[in-house]
Symmetry: C2
Subunit: 394 residues, 2 copies
């Protein structure tokens, strides 16, 4: 008899976005003329940079002709893209990587999920609270239920405290989703030092790195000494260059990054991840990798900067607009997310208020975890005009 993976039955169904959709639908069906402004979902709205469009047209044409047609590519991605990442995303920040430490893939969601494949079942996992639900759900699916929560709240300045328990895997997403806050270099160093001391592994999700504007905020965890031994870093073009529907990302697994078997024998995680990807993945589409490569051209990078600045300006409008109205807000400086402290503790209640009274859709913080209660998340991904209008409505 075929046995299911019973861990799936232990997953809590995420009703967050379903519930948001239900409430919005209920409201709009009663108020069909309501002019709703969406600031809930973390999806981009600006089109792809011109450089990416041109690169894709060119790559599509290559696929049309026998002489330039590409079949199977390397599972880990093409060197033309790995080189750009190595030189532009890392060497410029003093981080030396080799191509075979960079694994191109189809999304940070895939990679942060699939990375659990190479981890043993006995690990204790630490995540922030609030948290991106994928970190928790993928571990529950794999049978790991030893999950420790590190609150990230106004009270601790949105800097998670080191877990009191001995944990072996720590998920850190900074700039943070959903709070939009960051860790400064010395704050991140505390975690790297912990990992070095405890032989733990940090899974560093840097999907929002491109939004960092302040100095002293590390773009890569490898800017911290010793991090290569203890950290895997996830990057994404989704929010950077508008690739949410185009799908390209990469994961860095330095060769020094080490895991251990039950006898304490050390293994390079780079080899494990390579084996995982070569067995269960067949590479990102050639056309899409060419689009990602174009981000690193002078035109591409200035077009991407324009997109980022557009969203950052929206974030500023939201931040300043809400502050002016007397709200307490966090994030939005190095991030497209603004984390608003709701006047009352109930974030769903404030969600309803904004929906019904101001026709603005947001995301209740409670949906991201216990410590998210009392907050809502607003995103800067709408148009400038709608963003201004939303602030005028409040």
């Amino acid at each position: 008899m075929i046995q299911i993976n019973e861990n799936f039955t232990k997953l809590s169904e995420s009703y967050l976005f379903t519930e948001i959709a239900r409430r919005v639908k209920a409201y709009t069906s009663e108020n069909p003329n309501a002019d709703i402004i969406k600031m809930g979902i973390g999806d981009v709205t600006l089109p792809l940079p011109k450089a990416c469009i041109e690169a894709m047209h060119k790559a599509v044409d290559e696929m049309a002709v026998k002489e330039t047609f590409r079949g199977y590519g390397p599972e880990q991605g093409y060197e033309f893209l790995q080189e750009k990442i190595r030189d532009f995303d890392f060497a410029t920040r003093g981080v030396t990587l080799s191509n075979d430490e960079i694994f191109i893939s189809d999304g940070a969601k895939s990679d942060t999920g699939n990375i659990t494949d190479i981890l043993g079942s006995g690990n204790t996992i630490a995540v922030t609270d609030p948290v991106y639900p994928v970190y928790v759900d993928t571990n529950v699916m794999a049978g790991r239920q030893n999950i420790v929560y590190m609150p990230v709240t106004k009270e601790n300045g949105f800097v998670p405290e080191l877990p009191k328990e001995d944990v072996s895997v720590l998920y850190l997403c900074f700039p943070n989703n959903p709070t939009g806050t960051v860790l400064k270099k010395d704050e991140l160093k505390v975690f790297v030092d912990y990992a070095l001391k405890h032989k733990a592994l940090i899974l560093f999700d840097a999907a929002y790195e491109a939004f960092i504007t302040e100095d002293n905020v590390p773009h890569s965890i490898y800017e911290i000494e010793g991090a290569k031994e203890v950290a895997i870093e996830f990057r994404s073009y989704s929010k950077t260059a508008g690739f949410t529907g185009t799908r390209c990302s990469y994961t860095v697994v330095p060769k020094e990054c080490t895991g251990y078997d039950k006898n304490g024998k050390a293994f390079s995680l780079n080899h494990f991840w390579k084996r995982r990807q070569c067995t269960k993945f067949n590479g990102t589409p050639y056309i899409i990798q060419r689009a990602a490569e174009a981000i690193y051209t002078p035109e591409g990078s200035s077009q991407v900067m324009e997109i980022i600045n557009y969203y950052l300006n929206n974030a500023k409008i939201i931040r300043e607009g809400l502050t002016k109205k007397g709200f307490e807000v966090f994030g939005g400086v190095n991030s497209p997310y603004i984390w608003l402290k709701t006047p009352e503790k109930d974030s769903w209640k404030f969600f309803d208020y904004l929906l019904k009274e101001k026709n603005i859709v947001t995301t209740p913080g409670a949906g991201f975890g216990k410590s998210g209660e009392g907050y809502i998340r607003l995103t800067a991904f709408n148009t400038k005009e709608k963003t201004i209008e939303a602030m005028e409505r409040i």
Copy 2:
């Protein structure tokens, strides 16, 4: 201390294609003027169908403009593609599916690997021998070492016998990789009946379905009565439409398809796979899904047929050429693969002979499993001219 998944250390490293590459390199460095014909690797060579090229250019242009730009799509794929699959790949064969039973993804390798996520650790797995190594490796990674081999050889007419042990998961790939042979309807029915009787699950890999030319060979396992309750089917555009570097495939999980917990309680696997994909995958690129959709237009489907027929004609040239020389060959009628019985038992020896004496690269059958010893695999994916030349050389 971070614990690795120790199952990875139990994986046998696959040296097959590395070893082939090493031998070819050694030979060509000594014989730099050798005109090598590659008939080893299963990668396509013809460019993408024009209809796909046009659809991608159009989709790329959509991504360039705010009004038509697409961000996150549904994790399970767009309905525009699901509908085409439902109507053209299944309804035409009398199989009724709904859109939400069809999951678009980036490759059959990903899906046949990732499907192990939803299976419990206690299952006993049956695979054919020879076998596509991914089925075995992904189960070993997940800690399942109860693997039963079903030989597929000349002696049993390349029809695997039902396992004597009680197995709960059976991988069947037909048309088969590497043997190129097929199961007729009544032969496949034996497996469906076994699965129904034992409440087992069949993972049916139909990646080479488009190459079927003979009647009475099922294109989909759902053509067999009762199969929806016990089978998941994997399909791919890789070999059909030349998508090996473009990456699109799909997996069918009917709602009736059932798994059980330890108490025998039944669960719909459709729900489990949906949860897996929504948590660990973010959809196939919009542009690529539009390319796949174009396969179902009148132009697209005739262009695909042209590609398939080109490769099938190569297969015929190989089959007839080798038969004429007195070799015993199998496959190549409903498949791009030809399975040649080597004159002596040692398939690596025959590989070396073809490489050194005829300058033809093939794949030794021993690389696919014990029962592959004594065979080599030739592929029909080279040009017609090179294929003819190869036969003339032999």
